[in-house]
Symmetry: C2
Subunit: 211 residues, 2 copies
DNA sequence: GTCTATAAGGGGATAGAC
DNA sequence: GTCTATCCCCTTATAGAC
């Protein structure tokens, strides 16, 4: 057992460094987009040289994919209407909207990276969306249709309902710079996200004719 | 009057070429963002060499600014709630929503360029937003507050109402690739935009308690 | 107005010493 | 694992002939 056989500490250290790089990368990709972000700037933000960063991630493309993957894994766990607690439309839709607002508050940069990618035609995400997000959406749409049949809410197009909720909640992350300007704040506060959640749940619940 | 004194035809031709470049630039900037777009690809799409393009626009930055300017001028004319026909909340808000949906349908690339810029922190737009869009927004907010005082609609936060309408209408341009995947279509059709407009106006009017 | 040639710089990625 | 040095390509932009 020589001094180089400390496999556990080394692996931990490596994982911590990789995580620091991923965090920095999320920030830089969110602000500059894939092409605008240089691995040099990501390395600097991490406190490494770019050559050292390339020791941990073999290429900018791979690093970017990892950042995307992390965000999507976070979302997929929380972004299902069906996964919400409760069993009535009012409780579940409220919980869904507030959960999405919460993600916009806690992970704005991840949301921005995702948004950038979708706007640019989703070249790296089409497959993932088709295989992971769409099945979940189909299930959620079915749930809405059941509620409509049971007379628990007005007959609306479930797809456009979800598009509206996605857009209105993610805008507090993606378009935060515009919203900050409109509200005259240098940064959105907890109270702003709370007000957004209050407004949206109220509008949707009443607008759908849910008791 | 020698053969070089045809100032009018020349100017017309120059304007047409500049417009062709601006149209191509809007497409390429929308799909790749500022950094990802090369003036070479814009020139090729226009049918010019990049050196020739640089004869018409002195730099990539100036070209980009011009593209942004064109979009904003289009929006500023149509994006005021106060500018809508009618004088009651139902008519004016419906018209406002459908107008924004219409712009998403007819100018998706302009919307995408704008969205890219906002997501990246709006470095080139903060001043314009503050000087042009915000005053308009303040007036529109006032109108909503008047309606609330007159008992014509529920007391809601006007700002979040506008954020919701902006996000939900622009998503059909900015996030079209995701929506197309969700709806199983290669491209959004007139009927999709119509359905979106129907859903959103219905939801908002009812959700705000407007008669 | 349009072309060829080229300058000048940045950025991704690799090689190899330590 | 981290560093220095370097390669190579792509991109913006300019110079100058036609």
């Amino acid at each position: 057992m020589d001094k180089n056989s400390q496999s556990k500490p080394k692996r931990l250290s490596r994982e911590r460094t990789e995580q620091r790089i991923l965090n920095a990368a999320e920030d830089v990709f969110a602000q500059y987009g894939f092409h605008g972000a240089s691995i040099n700037s990501i390395a600097e933000l991490t406190g490494l040289t770019k050559q050292n960063l390339l020791y941990y991630f073999p290429s900018k493309e791979v690093l970017y994919q990892k950042v995307l993957e992390n965000i999507l894994n976070l979302w997929i766990d929380k972004m299902a209407l069906l996964a919400q607690r409760g069993d009535d439309p009012k409780t579940m839709i409220s919980s869904y909207i507030r959960g999405k607002i919460e993600i916009s508050k806690t992970h704005p940069n991840g949301s921005k990276v995702f948004a950038n990618e979708i706007i640019n035609g989703a070249p790296r995400l089409k497959e993932y969306i088709a295989s992971h997000l769409l099945p979940q959406l189909q299930d959620d749409v079915q749930l809405i249709r059941t509620w409509i049949k049971e007379g628990k809410m007005d007959p609306v197009d479930p797809y456009h309902l979800f598009f509206m909720i996605w857009a209105s909640t993610q805008t507090y992350a993606d378009f935060s710079s515009q919203i900050e300007l409109a509200l005259g704040k240098s940064q959105l506060q907890d109270e702003d996200f709370a007000a957004a959640g209050d407004f949206l749940t109220r509008l949707v619940i009443k607008g759908l004719g849910i008791k």
